[in-house]
Protein backbone atom coordinates (compact mmCIF):
# COMPACT_ATOMS: atom_id res chain seq x y z
CA UNK A 1 0.00 0.00 0.00
CA UNK A 2 2.64 2.49 1.13
CA UNK A 3 6.29 1.97 0.45
CA UNK A 4 8.96 4.41 1.60
CA UNK A 5 12.42 3.71 0.28
CA UNK A 6 15.66 5.39 1.35
CA UNK A 7 13.90 8.64 2.25
CA UNK A 8 16.26 11.53 2.96
CA UNK A 9 15.09 14.90 4.28
CA UNK A 10 17.18 18.00 4.79
CA UNK A 11 16.57 21.20 6.76
CA UNK A 12 17.66 24.25 4.81
CA UNK A 13 17.88 26.81 7.63
CA UNK A 14 21.50 27.83 8.29
CA UNK A 15 23.85 25.11 7.15
CA UNK A 16 21.76 22.37 5.49
CA UNK A 17 21.62 19.24 7.63
CA UNK A 18 19.97 15.89 7.15
CA UNK A 19 17.13 15.28 9.58
CA UNK A 20 15.90 12.00 8.08
CA UNK A 21 18.42 9.56 6.64
CA UNK A 22 17.85 6.44 4.60
CA UNK A 23 14.41 5.65 6.02
CA UNK A 24 12.66 2.66 4.45
CA UNK A 25 9.51 0.85 5.55
CA UNK A 26 6.18 -0.24 4.17
CA UNK A 27 2.55 -0.28 5.25
CA UNK A 28 0.64 -3.25 3.80
CA UNK A 29 -3.09 -3.03 3.08
CA UNK A 30 -5.27 -3.76 6.11
CA UNK A 31 -2.36 -3.69 8.56
CA UNK A 32 -1.09 -1.22 11.12
CA UNK A 33 2.52 -0.10 11.05
CA UNK A 34 3.67 1.93 14.02
CA UNK A 35 6.43 4.48 13.66
CA UNK A 36 7.97 5.00 17.09
CA UNK A 37 10.79 7.12 18.44
CA UNK A 38 11.44 10.11 20.64
CA UNK A 39 10.20 13.62 19.86
CA UNK A 40 12.21 15.28 17.11
CA UNK A 41 13.49 12.07 15.53
CA UNK A 42 11.76 12.79 12.20
CA UNK A 43 8.52 10.80 12.52
CA UNK A 44 6.16 13.65 11.72
CA UNK A 45 8.37 14.97 8.91
CA UNK A 46 8.33 11.51 7.34
CA UNK A 47 4.52 11.58 7.51
CA UNK A 48 4.35 15.02 5.93
CA UNK A 49 6.78 13.92 3.20
CA UNK A 50 4.45 11.03 2.34
CA UNK A 51 1.68 13.51 1.49
CA UNK A 52 4.04 16.03 -0.10
CA UNK A 53 3.38 18.58 2.64
CA UNK A 54 6.88 19.30 3.91
CA UNK A 55 7.40 22.75 5.44
CA UNK A 56 9.23 25.32 3.32
CA UNK A 57 12.48 24.90 5.20
CA UNK A 58 12.61 21.12 4.68
CA UNK A 59 13.48 19.44 1.37
CA UNK A 60 13.41 15.85 0.22
CA UNK A 61 16.87 15.08 -1.10
CA UNK A 62 16.49 11.41 -1.88
CA UNK A 63 14.37 8.30 -1.82
CA UNK A 64 10.99 7.36 -3.21
CA UNK A 65 7.50 7.18 -1.77
CA UNK A 66 4.89 4.99 -3.43
CA UNK A 67 1.20 4.95 -2.50
CA UNK A 68 -0.94 2.28 -4.13
CA UNK A 69 1.52 1.95 -7.00
CA UNK A 70 1.77 5.71 -7.62
CA UNK A 71 5.09 7.42 -7.02
CA UNK A 72 4.30 10.51 -4.93
CA UNK A 73 7.55 12.17 -6.09
CA UNK A 74 6.39 12.21 -9.72
CA UNK A 75 2.89 13.55 -9.09
CA UNK A 76 1.89 17.02 -10.30
CA UNK A 77 0.54 19.44 -7.64
CA UNK A 78 -3.02 18.75 -8.90
CA UNK A 79 -2.61 14.97 -8.59
CA UNK A 80 -1.02 15.38 -5.20
CA UNK A 81 -3.99 17.47 -4.09
CA UNK A 82 -6.37 14.77 -5.32
CA UNK A 83 -4.35 12.13 -3.47
CA UNK A 84 -4.68 13.98 -0.16
CA UNK A 85 -8.04 13.13 1.28
CA UNK A 86 -8.81 10.99 -1.79
CA UNK A 87 -6.53 7.97 -1.42
CA UNK A 88 -4.64 8.90 1.71
CA UNK A 89 -5.78 10.89 4.73
CA UNK A 90 -4.04 12.08 7.85
CA UNK A 91 -5.16 12.61 11.42
CA UNK A 92 -3.17 15.21 13.29
CA UNK A 93 -2.04 15.36 16.87
CA UNK A 94 -3.94 18.24 18.42
CA UNK A 95 -7.60 18.08 17.42
CA UNK A 96 -8.41 21.39 19.13
CA UNK A 97 -6.18 23.34 16.76
CA UNK A 98 -6.85 21.32 13.61
CA UNK A 99 -10.22 22.91 12.93
CA UNK A 100 -10.71 26.44 11.70
CA UNK A 101 -12.21 28.12 14.79
CA UNK A 102 -14.51 30.37 12.75
CA UNK A 103 -16.08 27.55 10.70
CA UNK A 104 -18.69 25.01 11.80
CA UNK A 105 -18.06 21.27 11.47
CA UNK A 106 -20.46 21.35 8.52
CA UNK A 107 -18.21 23.87 6.73
CA UNK A 108 -15.27 21.53 7.20
CA UNK A 109 -17.26 18.68 5.70
CA UNK A 110 -18.34 20.87 2.78
CA UNK A 111 -14.77 21.78 2.05
CA UNK A 112 -13.55 18.18 2.11
CA UNK A 113 -16.52 17.12 -0.02
CA UNK A 114 -15.89 19.91 -2.52
CA UNK A 115 -12.30 18.73 -2.85
CA UNK A 116 -13.36 15.11 -3.42
CA UNK A 117 -16.41 14.58 -5.56
CA UNK A 118 -18.92 16.76 -3.75
CA UNK A 119 -20.45 19.86 -5.23
CA UNK A 120 -17.55 22.16 -6.06
CA UNK A 121 -18.13 25.84 -5.61
CA UNK A 122 -21.01 25.47 -3.19
CA UNK A 123 -19.36 26.31 0.06
CA UNK A 124 -22.16 27.86 2.04
CA UNK A 125 -23.35 25.55 4.81
CA UNK A 126 -26.92 26.79 4.23
CA UNK A 127 -27.04 25.33 0.73
CA UNK A 128 -25.34 21.99 1.42
CA UNK A 129 -26.93 19.58 -1.05
CA UNK A 130 -28.85 16.63 0.41
CA UNK A 131 -26.45 14.08 -1.11
CA UNK A 132 -23.44 15.75 0.55
CA UNK A 133 -25.33 16.07 3.82
CA UNK A 134 -26.15 12.36 3.73
CA UNK A 135 -22.48 11.51 3.17
CA UNK A 136 -21.46 13.69 6.11
CA UNK A 137 -24.13 12.19 8.38
CA UNK A 138 -23.16 8.64 7.36
CA UNK A 139 -19.51 9.33 8.06
CA UNK A 140 -20.24 10.87 11.49
CA UNK A 141 -22.53 7.96 12.40
CA UNK A 142 -19.72 5.56 11.48
CA UNK A 143 -17.41 7.12 14.06
CA UNK A 144 -20.06 6.75 16.75
CA UNK A 145 -22.02 9.98 16.87
CA UNK A 146 -25.66 9.33 17.72
CA UNK A 147 -26.94 12.68 16.46
CA UNK A 148 -24.72 13.80 13.56
CA UNK A 149 -26.83 16.90 12.86
CA UNK A 150 -25.92 18.41 16.25
CA UNK A 151 -22.25 17.83 15.54
CA UNK A 152 -22.50 19.33 12.04
CA UNK A 153 -23.93 22.56 13.43
CA UNK A 154 -21.33 22.86 16.20
CA UNK A 155 -18.24 25.06 16.16
CA UNK A 156 -14.96 23.30 17.04
CA UNK A 157 -14.74 24.97 20.46
CA UNK A 158 -18.09 23.48 21.41
CA UNK A 159 -16.73 19.91 21.14
CA UNK A 160 -14.22 18.07 23.31
CA UNK A 161 -10.81 16.94 22.09
CA UNK A 162 -11.96 13.32 21.79
CA UNK A 163 -15.06 14.32 19.83
CA UNK A 164 -13.01 16.48 17.48
CA UNK A 165 -10.59 13.63 16.90
CA UNK A 166 -13.54 11.44 15.94
CA UNK A 167 -14.80 14.19 13.63
CA UNK A 168 -11.34 14.19 12.04
CA UNK A 169 -11.59 10.43 11.46
CA UNK A 170 -15.08 10.99 10.00
CA UNK A 171 -13.66 13.61 7.62
CA UNK A 172 -10.97 11.14 6.56
CA UNK A 173 -13.63 8.51 5.86
CA UNK A 174 -15.56 10.71 3.41
CA UNK A 175 -13.58 9.19 0.54
CA UNK A 176 -12.68 5.55 0.13
CA UNK A 177 -9.16 6.07 1.41
CA UNK A 178 -6.58 3.28 1.20
CA UNK A 179 -4.04 4.73 3.60
CA UNK A 180 -4.56 6.49 6.91
CA UNK A 181 -1.68 8.36 8.51
CA UNK A 182 -2.27 9.05 12.18
CA UNK A 183 0.31 11.40 13.67
CA UNK A 184 0.14 10.87 17.42
CA UNK A 185 -3.66 10.88 17.39
CA UNK A 186 -4.01 10.18 21.10
CA UNK A 187 -1.25 12.33 22.61
CA UNK A 188 -3.50 15.26 23.53
CA UNK A 189 -6.39 13.17 24.81
CA UNK A 190 -7.36 11.82 28.21
CA UNK A 191 -7.09 8.04 28.69
CA UNK A 192 -10.79 7.37 28.12
CA UNK A 193 -10.78 9.26 24.82
CA UNK A 194 -7.48 7.59 23.90
CA UNK A 195 -8.97 4.14 24.29
CA UNK A 196 -12.01 5.17 22.26
CA UNK A 197 -9.98 6.61 19.40
CA UNK A 198 -7.72 3.54 19.23
CA UNK A 199 -10.74 1.23 19.12
CA UNK A 200 -12.28 3.42 16.43
CA UNK A 201 -9.11 3.37 14.33
CA UNK A 202 -8.91 -0.40 14.65
CA UNK A 203 -12.56 -0.91 13.70
CA UNK A 204 -12.26 1.49 10.78
CA UNK A 205 -9.14 -0.27 9.50
CA UNK A 206 -10.89 -3.62 9.62
CA UNK A 207 -14.07 -2.37 7.98
CA UNK A 208 -12.35 -0.49 5.15
CA UNK A 209 -9.26 -2.66 4.80
CA UNK A 210 -6.98 0.38 4.73
CA UNK A 211 -3.32 0.46 5.69
CA UNK A 212 -2.60 2.55 8.79
CA UNK A 213 0.66 4.28 9.62
CA UNK A 214 0.44 5.20 13.29
CA UNK A 215 3.06 7.61 14.56
CA UNK A 216 3.47 7.51 18.31
CA UNK A 217 5.95 7.52 21.13
CA UNK A 218 3.63 5.58 23.38
CA UNK A 219 4.68 1.94 23.61
CA UNK A 220 1.28 1.06 25.09
CA UNK A 221 -0.38 2.25 21.89
CA UNK A 222 2.12 0.24 19.83
CA UNK A 223 1.39 -2.88 21.85
CA UNK A 224 -2.31 -2.49 21.33
CA UNK A 225 -2.43 -1.51 17.68
CA UNK A 226 0.65 -2.52 15.73
CA UNK A 227 1.24 -5.39 13.32
CA UNK A 228 4.65 -4.01 12.40
CA UNK A 229 6.88 -1.60 14.25
CA UNK A 230 9.47 0.78 12.81
CA UNK A 231 11.78 2.33 15.41
CA UNK A 232 13.37 5.67 14.51
CA UNK A 233 16.20 7.32 16.37
CA UNK A 234 17.93 10.57 15.40
CA UNK A 235 16.49 10.51 11.88
CA UNK A 236 17.30 6.90 11.09
CA UNK A 237 15.43 3.61 11.28
CA UNK A 238 17.33 1.58 13.83
CA UNK A 239 15.11 -1.47 13.90
CA UNK A 240 11.89 -2.77 12.37
CA UNK A 241 9.91 -5.95 12.42
CA UNK A 242 6.72 -7.66 13.49
CA UNK A 243 5.50 -6.41 16.83
CA UNK A 244 5.80 -9.73 18.67
CA UNK A 245 9.35 -10.33 17.44
CA UNK A 246 10.45 -6.81 18.22
CA UNK A 247 8.98 -6.85 21.71
CA UNK A 248 10.36 -10.31 22.42
CA UNK A 249 13.88 -9.70 21.24
CA UNK A 250 14.75 -6.08 20.60
CA UNK A 251 18.14 -6.01 18.92
CA UNK A 252 19.03 -2.34 19.01
CA UNK A 253 20.03 -0.65 22.25
CA UNK A 254 17.64 2.23 21.61
CA UNK A 255 14.66 -0.12 21.20
CA UNK A 256 15.63 -1.89 24.42
CA UNK A 257 15.91 1.48 26.19
CA UNK A 258 12.52 2.53 24.83
CA UNK A 259 10.84 -0.65 26.08
CA UNK A 260 12.65 -0.46 29.39
CA UNK A 261 11.64 3.17 29.91
CA UNK A 262 8.03 2.26 29.29
CA UNK A 263 8.04 -0.80 31.55
CA UNK A 264 9.73 1.08 34.36
CA UNK A 265 6.73 3.42 34.50
CA UNK A 266 4.76 0.45 35.79
CA UNK A 267 7.45 -0.92 38.08
CA UNK A 268 8.43 -3.65 35.63
CA UNK A 269 11.86 -4.39 34.29
CA UNK A 270 12.88 -5.75 30.96
CA UNK A 271 14.64 -8.72 32.55
CA UNK A 272 11.73 -9.54 34.89
CA UNK A 273 10.27 -13.01 35.02
CA UNK A 274 6.86 -11.37 34.68
CA UNK A 275 7.85 -9.92 31.36
CA UNK A 276 9.48 -13.18 30.41
CA UNK A 277 9.70 -13.90 26.72
CA UNK A 278 8.50 -10.44 25.97
CA UNK A 279 5.33 -10.24 24.00
CA UNK A 280 3.19 -7.12 23.56
CA UNK A 281 0.89 -8.23 26.38
CA UNK A 282 2.81 -6.91 29.40
CA UNK A 283 3.20 -3.54 27.70
CA UNK A 284 -0.42 -3.59 26.74
CA UNK A 285 -1.54 -4.61 30.20
CA UNK A 286 0.55 -1.87 31.73
CA UNK A 287 -0.66 0.82 29.40
CA UNK A 288 -4.25 0.13 28.53
CA UNK A 289 -6.90 1.47 30.84
CA UNK A 290 -9.41 -1.09 32.03
CA UNK A 291 -12.95 -1.23 30.74
CA UNK A 292 -14.53 2.20 30.82
CA UNK A 293 -17.28 2.37 33.44
CA UNK A 294 -20.63 3.23 31.90
CA UNK A 295 -21.03 6.47 33.87
CA UNK A 296 -17.84 8.03 32.54
CA UNK A 297 -18.33 7.04 28.92
CA UNK A 298 -18.71 9.97 26.61
CA UNK A 299 -20.97 10.13 23.65
Amino acid sequence: MLAVESLELEILRGRPRKVVRNVSFSVPRGRVTCLVGESGCGKSLTCLAILGLLPEAVRRTGGTITIDGERVNDLSPEHLQALRGGKAAMILQNPMSCFDPICTVKSHFLESLAAHGGNPGRLSPEVMPESDLARARRSLAEVGFDSPDDILDAYPFQLSGGMLQRVMVALALLSEIRLLLADEPTTDLDVVSQARILTLLDETRRRHGMGVLLVTHDIGVVARMADFVVVMHKGEVVEQGEVATLFAAPRHAYTRALLQAHLSLYGLSFGDEAVGTVSPEPCLAAATPGPVPEEVRIR
Binding site: Q81, R84, D100, E111, S112, A115, L123
Partner: protein, 280 residues
Protein backbone atom coordinates in the same frame (compact mmCIF):
# COMPACT_ATOMS: atom_id res chain seq x y z
CA UNK B 1 -23.92 42.01 15.70
CA UNK B 2 -21.98 40.76 18.72
CA UNK B 3 -18.98 42.70 17.43
CA UNK B 4 -21.05 45.88 17.09
CA UNK B 5 -22.40 45.42 20.62
CA UNK B 6 -18.88 44.93 22.01
CA UNK B 7 -17.67 47.91 20.00
CA UNK B 8 -20.40 50.19 21.28
CA UNK B 9 -20.07 49.15 24.91
CA UNK B 10 -17.45 51.85 25.60
CA UNK B 11 -18.67 55.44 25.92
CA UNK B 12 -15.77 57.00 23.98
CA UNK B 13 -16.11 54.53 21.11
CA UNK B 14 -19.87 55.06 21.07
CA UNK B 15 -19.31 58.80 20.74
CA UNK B 16 -16.68 58.27 18.02
CA UNK B 17 -19.05 55.92 16.18
CA UNK B 18 -21.83 58.52 16.25
CA UNK B 19 -19.44 61.26 15.04
CA UNK B 20 -18.06 59.08 12.22
CA UNK B 21 -21.59 58.10 11.15
CA UNK B 22 -22.64 61.76 11.24
CA UNK B 23 -19.72 62.79 8.99
CA UNK B 24 -20.55 59.92 6.61
CA UNK B 25 -24.22 60.94 6.48
CA UNK B 26 -23.27 64.57 5.92
CA UNK B 27 -21.01 63.52 3.03
CA UNK B 28 -23.78 61.38 1.51
CA UNK B 29 -26.60 63.90 1.86
CA UNK B 30 -24.68 67.20 1.57
CA UNK B 31 -26.86 68.63 -1.26
CA UNK B 32 -30.02 68.01 0.78
CA UNK B 33 -28.66 69.66 3.91
CA UNK B 34 -27.93 73.06 2.42
CA UNK B 35 -29.81 75.03 -0.18
CA UNK B 36 -26.69 76.97 -1.26
CA UNK B 37 -24.39 75.91 -4.07
CA UNK B 38 -20.88 75.59 -2.53
CA UNK B 39 -19.28 77.09 -5.65
CA UNK B 40 -21.80 79.93 -6.12
CA UNK B 41 -19.75 83.16 -6.05
CA UNK B 42 -21.42 86.39 -4.96
CA UNK B 43 -18.85 89.09 -4.33
CA UNK B 44 -21.50 91.46 -2.97
CA UNK B 45 -21.98 89.03 -0.08
CA UNK B 46 -18.30 88.40 0.75
CA UNK B 47 -17.06 87.85 4.31
CA UNK B 48 -20.54 88.07 5.84
CA UNK B 49 -21.01 87.29 9.50
CA UNK B 50 -23.24 84.33 10.43
CA UNK B 51 -26.88 85.15 9.73
CA UNK B 52 -30.20 83.37 9.28
CA UNK B 53 -29.45 83.11 5.55
CA UNK B 54 -25.82 81.97 5.87
CA UNK B 55 -25.62 80.04 9.14
CA UNK B 56 -21.81 80.08 9.24
CA UNK B 57 -21.36 83.23 7.18
CA UNK B 58 -19.66 83.56 3.78
CA UNK B 59 -16.04 83.43 2.60
CA UNK B 60 -13.94 85.93 0.64
CA UNK B 61 -15.84 85.14 -2.59
CA UNK B 62 -19.26 85.30 -0.96
CA UNK B 63 -19.77 81.51 -0.97
CA UNK B 64 -21.80 79.93 1.83
CA UNK B 65 -19.32 78.45 4.35
CA UNK B 66 -21.75 75.81 5.66
CA UNK B 67 -22.47 74.53 2.14
CA UNK B 68 -18.72 74.33 1.41
CA UNK B 69 -18.10 72.58 4.72
CA UNK B 70 -20.81 69.98 4.03
CA UNK B 71 -19.65 69.39 0.45
CA UNK B 72 -16.04 69.37 1.66
CA UNK B 73 -16.85 66.21 3.65
CA UNK B 74 -17.63 64.51 0.32
CA UNK B 75 -14.25 65.37 -1.21
CA UNK B 76 -12.29 64.48 1.92
CA UNK B 77 -14.07 61.23 2.79
CA UNK B 78 -14.52 60.22 -0.85
CA UNK B 79 -10.83 60.53 -1.62
CA UNK B 80 -9.91 58.70 1.60
CA UNK B 81 -12.35 55.89 0.74
CA UNK B 82 -10.74 55.49 -2.70
CA UNK B 83 -7.26 55.54 -1.13
CA UNK B 84 -8.11 52.92 1.51
CA UNK B 85 -9.85 50.67 -1.03
CA UNK B 86 -6.91 50.88 -3.45
CA UNK B 87 -4.37 50.24 -0.66
CA UNK B 88 -6.31 47.22 0.65
CA UNK B 89 -6.75 45.72 -2.81
CA UNK B 90 -3.10 46.11 -3.71
CA UNK B 91 -1.64 45.11 -0.36
CA UNK B 92 -3.95 42.13 0.18
CA UNK B 93 -3.00 40.72 -3.22
CA UNK B 94 0.74 41.34 -2.88
CA UNK B 95 0.97 40.49 0.84
CA UNK B 96 -0.97 37.25 0.65
CA UNK B 97 0.83 36.03 -2.49
CA UNK B 98 4.24 36.86 -0.96
CA UNK B 99 3.42 35.25 2.38
CA UNK B 100 1.80 32.16 0.95
CA UNK B 101 4.15 31.48 -1.97
CA UNK B 102 7.37 32.23 -0.07
CA UNK B 103 10.79 31.72 -1.68
CA UNK B 104 11.78 33.83 -4.67
CA UNK B 105 8.29 35.29 -5.16
CA UNK B 106 8.31 36.52 -1.57
CA UNK B 107 11.84 37.93 -1.87
CA UNK B 108 10.99 39.78 -5.10
CA UNK B 109 7.71 41.25 -3.82
CA UNK B 110 9.25 42.34 -0.53
CA UNK B 111 12.14 44.12 -2.29
CA UNK B 112 9.49 45.87 -4.37
CA UNK B 113 7.79 46.92 -1.12
CA UNK B 114 11.12 48.15 0.27
CA UNK B 115 11.55 50.34 -2.79
CA UNK B 116 8.17 51.97 -2.28
CA UNK B 117 8.79 52.36 1.45
CA UNK B 118 11.78 54.60 0.77
CA UNK B 119 9.62 57.42 -0.67
CA UNK B 120 8.26 59.97 1.80
CA UNK B 121 4.60 60.77 0.98
CA UNK B 122 4.98 64.50 0.44
CA UNK B 123 8.14 64.24 -1.66
CA UNK B 124 6.60 61.57 -3.90
CA UNK B 125 3.39 63.61 -4.17
CA UNK B 126 5.38 66.66 -5.29
CA UNK B 127 7.35 64.52 -7.73
CA UNK B 128 4.20 63.01 -9.26
CA UNK B 129 2.43 66.36 -9.37
CA UNK B 130 5.53 67.91 -10.97
CA UNK B 131 5.30 65.33 -13.75
CA UNK B 132 1.55 64.76 -14.04
CA UNK B 133 0.18 68.11 -12.84
CA UNK B 134 -1.80 69.05 -9.74
CA UNK B 135 -5.07 67.26 -8.96
CA UNK B 136 -6.83 64.87 -6.68
CA UNK B 137 -6.02 61.78 -8.79
CA UNK B 138 -2.30 62.37 -8.46
CA UNK B 139 -2.58 62.96 -4.71
CA UNK B 140 -4.48 59.67 -4.37
CA UNK B 141 -1.83 57.96 -6.49
CA UNK B 142 0.98 59.38 -4.33
CA UNK B 143 -0.64 58.36 -1.03
CA UNK B 144 -1.44 54.86 -2.32
CA UNK B 145 2.12 54.46 -3.62
CA UNK B 146 3.67 55.38 -0.28
CA UNK B 147 1.29 53.44 1.95
CA UNK B 148 0.40 50.13 0.26
CA UNK B 149 3.81 48.63 1.01
CA UNK B 150 3.33 49.03 4.80
CA UNK B 151 0.09 47.13 4.59
CA UNK B 152 1.55 44.48 2.25
CA UNK B 153 4.36 43.84 4.74
CA UNK B 154 1.97 43.48 7.67
CA UNK B 155 -0.35 41.20 5.67
CA UNK B 156 2.60 39.07 4.60
CA UNK B 157 3.61 38.65 8.25
CA UNK B 158 0.08 37.65 9.23
CA UNK B 159 -0.15 35.18 6.33
CA UNK B 160 3.22 33.69 7.26
CA UNK B 161 1.98 33.08 10.78
CA UNK B 162 -1.46 31.81 9.73
CA UNK B 163 -0.25 29.40 7.09
CA UNK B 164 1.70 27.40 9.64
CA UNK B 165 -1.37 26.94 11.86
CA UNK B 166 -2.53 23.37 12.21
CA UNK B 167 -6.00 24.01 10.86
CA UNK B 168 -4.45 25.23 7.61
CA UNK B 169 -2.29 22.10 7.46
CA UNK B 170 -5.38 20.00 8.19
CA UNK B 171 -7.20 21.69 5.28
CA UNK B 172 -4.24 20.93 2.99
CA UNK B 173 -4.23 17.34 4.19
CA UNK B 174 -7.92 17.14 3.23
CA UNK B 175 -6.99 18.13 -0.32
CA UNK B 176 -8.20 21.76 -0.28
CA UNK B 177 -6.85 23.77 -3.21
CA UNK B 178 -4.48 26.70 -2.72
CA UNK B 179 -6.90 29.43 -3.80
CA UNK B 180 -9.65 28.14 -1.52
CA UNK B 181 -7.14 27.71 1.30
CA UNK B 182 -6.11 31.37 1.10
CA UNK B 183 -9.66 32.66 0.66
CA UNK B 184 -11.29 30.56 3.38
CA UNK B 185 -8.65 29.92 6.00
CA UNK B 186 -6.01 32.62 5.71
CA UNK B 187 -7.65 35.88 4.60
CA UNK B 188 -10.52 35.67 7.13
CA UNK B 189 -7.81 35.65 9.81
CA UNK B 190 -5.98 38.59 8.24
CA UNK B 191 -8.97 40.79 7.51
CA UNK B 192 -10.06 41.89 11.02
CA UNK B 193 -6.56 43.06 11.87
CA UNK B 194 -6.20 44.96 8.62
CA UNK B 195 -9.62 46.50 9.15
CA UNK B 196 -8.42 47.92 12.48
CA UNK B 197 -5.27 49.27 10.86
CA UNK B 198 -7.22 50.84 8.00
CA UNK B 199 -9.70 52.50 10.37
CA UNK B 200 -6.84 53.91 12.44
CA UNK B 201 -5.22 55.18 9.24
CA UNK B 202 -8.32 56.93 7.83
CA UNK B 203 -7.53 59.98 9.94
CA UNK B 204 -3.91 59.89 8.89
CA UNK B 205 -4.84 59.71 5.17
CA UNK B 206 -7.33 62.53 5.62
CA UNK B 207 -4.58 64.74 7.05
CA UNK B 208 -2.44 63.88 4.00
CA UNK B 209 -5.23 64.79 1.56
CA UNK B 210 -6.08 68.01 3.37
CA UNK B 211 -2.40 68.87 3.83
CA UNK B 212 -1.62 68.44 0.15
CA UNK B 213 -4.77 70.35 -0.83
CA UNK B 214 -3.74 73.13 1.53
CA UNK B 215 -0.41 73.32 -0.29
CA UNK B 216 -2.33 73.62 -3.55
CA UNK B 217 -1.23 70.18 -4.80
CA UNK B 218 -4.46 68.26 -4.29
CA UNK B 219 -8.04 69.30 -4.83
CA UNK B 220 -8.05 72.47 -6.90
CA UNK B 221 -10.14 75.55 -6.11
CA UNK B 222 -12.98 76.27 -6.43
CA UNK B 223 -13.92 72.66 -5.43
CA UNK B 224 -14.99 72.56 -1.80
CA UNK B 225 -12.51 70.61 0.32
CA UNK B 226 -11.45 71.24 3.91
CA UNK B 227 -7.75 71.69 3.11
CA UNK B 228 -8.61 74.06 0.25
CA UNK B 229 -10.93 76.02 2.58
CA UNK B 230 -8.12 76.49 5.11
CA UNK B 231 -5.81 77.65 2.33
CA UNK B 232 -8.43 80.11 1.06
CA UNK B 233 -8.95 81.48 4.56
CA UNK B 234 -5.23 81.79 5.27
CA UNK B 235 -5.03 85.48 4.38
CA UNK B 236 -7.98 86.33 6.67
CA UNK B 237 -6.50 84.66 9.74
CA UNK B 238 -6.51 87.92 11.75
CA UNK B 239 -9.75 89.43 10.50
CA UNK B 240 -11.99 86.36 9.97
CA UNK B 241 -10.41 83.53 12.04
CA UNK B 242 -13.67 81.52 12.04
CA UNK B 243 -13.10 80.74 8.33
CA UNK B 244 -10.06 78.68 9.36
CA UNK B 245 -11.69 77.39 12.49
CA UNK B 246 -14.67 75.62 10.82
CA UNK B 247 -12.75 73.38 8.36
CA UNK B 248 -10.03 72.87 10.98
CA UNK B 249 -12.64 71.69 13.49
CA UNK B 250 -14.20 69.42 10.85
CA UNK B 251 -10.83 67.78 10.15
CA UNK B 252 -10.11 67.50 13.88
CA UNK B 253 -13.46 65.87 14.70
CA UNK B 254 -13.34 63.45 11.75
CA UNK B 255 -9.73 62.38 12.34
CA UNK B 256 -10.40 61.98 16.06
CA UNK B 257 -13.60 60.00 15.44
CA UNK B 258 -11.92 57.51 13.10
CA UNK B 259 -8.88 57.14 15.36
CA UNK B 260 -11.04 56.40 18.41
CA UNK B 261 -13.22 54.08 16.33
CA UNK B 262 -10.09 52.21 15.20
CA UNK B 263 -8.95 51.91 18.83
CA UNK B 264 -12.37 50.60 19.83
CA UNK B 265 -12.41 48.15 16.95
CA UNK B 266 -8.99 46.86 17.96
CA UNK B 267 -10.18 46.31 21.52
CA UNK B 268 -13.41 44.67 20.35
CA UNK B 269 -11.54 42.23 18.09
CA UNK B 270 -8.92 41.40 20.69
CA UNK B 271 -9.99 38.23 22.47
CA UNK B 272 -7.78 39.01 25.48
CA UNK B 273 -9.35 42.44 25.90
CA UNK B 274 -12.82 41.01 25.49
CA UNK B 275 -12.52 38.83 28.56
CA UNK B 276 -10.84 41.58 30.51
CA UNK B 277 -7.35 40.10 30.22
CA UNK B 278 -5.79 36.76 31.02
CA UNK B 279 -6.62 35.24 34.34
CA UNK B 280 -9.65 37.42 35.01
Amino acid sequence: MTLLRTLLSGRTTRLAFVAACAVLLVALFAPLLSSWDPDDIDLSQKLQAPSREHLLGTDHLGRDVLARLLHGARASLGSVAVIVAAILLLSLSVGSVAGYAGGMVDAFLMRLCDTFLTFPTFILAMFLIGILGAGMTNVILAIVCTHWAWYARIIRGLVLSLKTREHVLAARVAGTGQFRLVMRHILPGVFPQILVLATLDIGHMMLHVSGLSFLGLGVQPPTAEWGVMINDARQYIWTQPQLLFYPGLAIFVTVMAFNLLGDGLRDALDPVGETGGWGK
